[in-house]
């Protein structure tokens, strides 16, 4: 990859190596996100079986986790911020859970 940068953008070899070293993780998450999007889109476009929504939901969940953990670098943050990230989603679960207790038992 760094050779590509050298050839295509005329970067010095050292710089290209440093740059690629820094971009490796974001690039990996980018590829993973696109693959997961591909799965979701494929499932949505073909609709092979009626329970396919579970796969779609699972793939979305993975995408959310990847953005949070890799792109937003939650794992690099102190435990406190990690806790906050979890708390946010937990509170969404409270909102959904308690409301569903109403609608699922009507």
């Amino acid at each position: 990859m760094s050779e590509f940068l050298v050839r295509r953008f005329g970067m010095a070899e050292d710089d290209a190596a440093v740059f690629w070293q820094h971009m490796r993780t974001p690039a990996r998450s980018f590829v993973m996100l696109l693959c997961l999007l591909g799965i979701t889109v494929l499932c949505g476009a073909t609709l092979p079986v009626h329970w396919i929504w579970m796969i779609e939901a699972l793939s979305t969940l993975c995408m959310v986790v990847i953005v949070l953990v890799i792109s937003m670098e939650v794992t690099h943050e102190p435990p406190l911020i990690r806790l906050f990230a979890v708390v946010g989603f937990f509170w969404v679960c409270i909102l959904f859970g308690m409301t569903l207790v109403d609608y699922l038992f009507r």
């Binding site: 509170w91 308690m98 207790v101 038992f105 009507r106």
Partner: protein, 550 residues
């Protein structure tokens, strides 16, 4: 005045005026230095002035409501005027007084002082949130005064989206804007408490006041966005026909109520928790005794802030939610009583065998404990499904939440204001007037609201301005009480303002209280402490320890 008082007060005069370092009040005195200040203490005073104004407006509307209810046939105001009056009272008191009251004034002033910081983490954001608050609240005030809104403070769909003929959209927009100010305040507090504590100020050395404000900030942050979106959906539905709750299309207005109460029930704890923090400071100081069960109160604050998100459905027992939901919400509502009771027992245990001084702040604190117990216990009645079916939407509910909100929040606010008044202004108020005011408010409050429990239990519905003649006696009693309450409120407004110019100068620690805020001068310098404090003492380190026999 007891001899103890006079020795404390005399210490105040010992501090010379000349040679004092400049404090935050006298650093600069131009108008711009107030309106563009980023000092948390000055912003707290800006908030204090604004919410006092809103309190007066809301109280005036309440007075007119009580006036209308003196006669049973509703001759004093028309139906529409009466509806608009209680909407003004509800909207102004809930959104513009109760919710911001203690956090934005006492909280803003004291949190950095109590944790030994120079300021909040984001001072400019703090000022911004005041401007957002003023913009939103004045806009809403204009709306409810000029156009009038008749939905009550709850804005239930489909009445608010389809049927009401009043200025609902501007009122909604104003409330949404004020929500952002709450969010920014909460954000500032959480970040400050996490990152700005002085060396040695560990979590379990923080005063309970800071713990409760941390809990309140969590509620601000986690609940407010949900009501923002719920009210925005109302605006879209009413203004543009982009509706998701419209029953004519098959939508479900109960869904709006779920979203609304997901915020608005926790909002009750936004009002109550800071009050609990204030009481937890006053009670040990005036008992000169270590706070009983410090850790339990700290944990109880956090657990109240979390549990409160699981109980919103108890506002909707008769609104058509499923029976399963009603039962779950009812059971969970009982659970909230546990941490609340923990606090009450802890305060009582702190008072027990303490060296009591019944000064004004302590009078308010004692009043708070008693009224909060009544309000809390009647809350348990209402959490019981079968009783709620009977008293739902009656004056029983009105009396219950006024015992919590007025008996709780307002008394705590006034108590805290008196307790920290010397710190905020550098002046002492007149103690005798203070005590008379506190007693009048306690008396007036009970005469106003206790009859409403009886009225509600007998079946008088809320929000009606006509009622059967047999209810008139209790209604007159309630209205008479409200005049005593009004007179009581005038007392602090007059003598506190008077003290700004003529009060005795206060020493750094007029109450012999413990805590970092009392270690700096009164009023504090702009950056709070002349040197960064180092904390090497435990909280509430009062002379009388919990287990000692006196």
């Amino acid at each position: 005045m007891s001899p103890l008082d006079s020795t404390i007060r005399d210490a105040a005069t010992a501090q010379p005026t000349i040679g004092r370092p400049k404090d935050y009040l006298h650093e600069k005195s131009t108008l711009a230095s107030w309106f563009f200040t980023i000092d948390h203490k000055r912003i707290a005073l800006l908030y204090l002035a604004s919410i006092t104004g809103f309190f007066v407006i809301g109280a005036f509307a309440a007075g007119l409501i009580r006036l209308a209810l003196v006669v049973p046939n509703g001759q004093i105001f028309s139906n529409d005027t009466y509806n608009k009056l209680f909407t003004i009272h509800g909207v102004v008191m809930v959104w513009f007084y109760m919710i911001p009251s203690i956090p934005t004034t006492l909280g803003n002033f004291l949190i950095p002082l109590m944790i030994g910081a120079k300021d909040l983490a984001f001072p400019k954001l703090n000022l911004t949130s005041w401007y957002i608050f003023m913009g939103g609240s004045l806009f809403t005030l204009f709306t409810v005064l000029v156009g009038g809104v008749d939905t009550g403070w709850t804005f239930y769909a489909p009445f608010s989206t389809t049927f009401s003929n009043t200025w609902v959209i501007p009122a909604l927009i104003g409330v949404i804007i004020v929500g952002f100010s709450s969010i920014l305040t909460g954000l500032n507090f959480v970040v400050t408490i996490h990152t700005m504590r002085a060396p040695g100020m560990t979590w379990f050395r923080m005063p309970i006041f800071v713990w409760t404000h941390y809990a309140v900030s969590l509620i601000f942050l986690l609940a407010t966005p949900v009501i923002t979106i719920a009210l925005s959906l109302l605006v879209l539905e009413r203004g543009f026909g982009i509706g998701v709750f419209d029953p004519a299309l098959g939508g479900d207005p109960v869904l709006f109520e779920h979203l609304f109460w997901f915020y608005s029930h926790p909002a009750v704890y936004i009002m109550v928790l800071p009050g609990m923090g204030v009481i937890s400071e006053i009670v040990p100081a005036f008992s000169q005794k270590k706070l009983f069960g410090y850790r339990f109160i700290a944990y109880a604050s956090i657990s109240l802030a979390s549990l409160t998100f699981f109980v919103w459905g108890h506002h909707m027992f008769v609104n058509g939610q499923s029976e399963m939901a009603s039962i779950s919400f009812s059971v969970l509502s009982f659970a909230v009583a546990v941490p609340s009771a923990v606090k009450v027992y802890n305060w009582t245990a702190t008072i027990y065998r303490g060296s009591l001084r019944l000064d004004t702040p302590m009078l308010y604190a004692m009043g708070y404990i008693g009224l909060f117990v009544i309000g809390g216990l009647t809350g348990l009645f209402l959490a019981t499904l079968s009783i709620d079916e009977h008293v739902h939407d009656t004056y029983f509910v009105v009396a219950h939440f006024h015992y919590i909100m007025v008996g709780g929040t307002v008394l705590a606010f006034l108590g805290g204001l008196h307790f920290w008044w010397p710190k905020m202004t550098g002046r002492m108020y007149n103690e005798a007037w203070g005590r008379v005011g506190a007693l009048l408010i306690f008396l007036g409050f009970n005469v106003t609201f206790f009859p409403q429990f009886l009225l509600g239990y007998l079946g008088m519905p809320r929000r009606y301005h006509q009622y059967p003649p047999e209810f008139q006696l209790l209604n007159i009693l309630s209205s008479a009480g409200s005049t005593i309450l009004a007179v009581g409120y005038f007392f602090p407004m007059i003598y506190l303002v008077w003290s700004l110019w003529f009060g005795k100068r206060a020493s750094a620690n007029p109450w012999e209280a413990k805590g970092l805020e009392w270690s700096t001068s009164s009023p504090p310098p702009t950056h709070n402490f002349l040197a960064e404090p180092v904390v090497d003492f435990e909280p509430y380190d009062y002379p009388i320890k919990a287990r000692e026999r006196v």
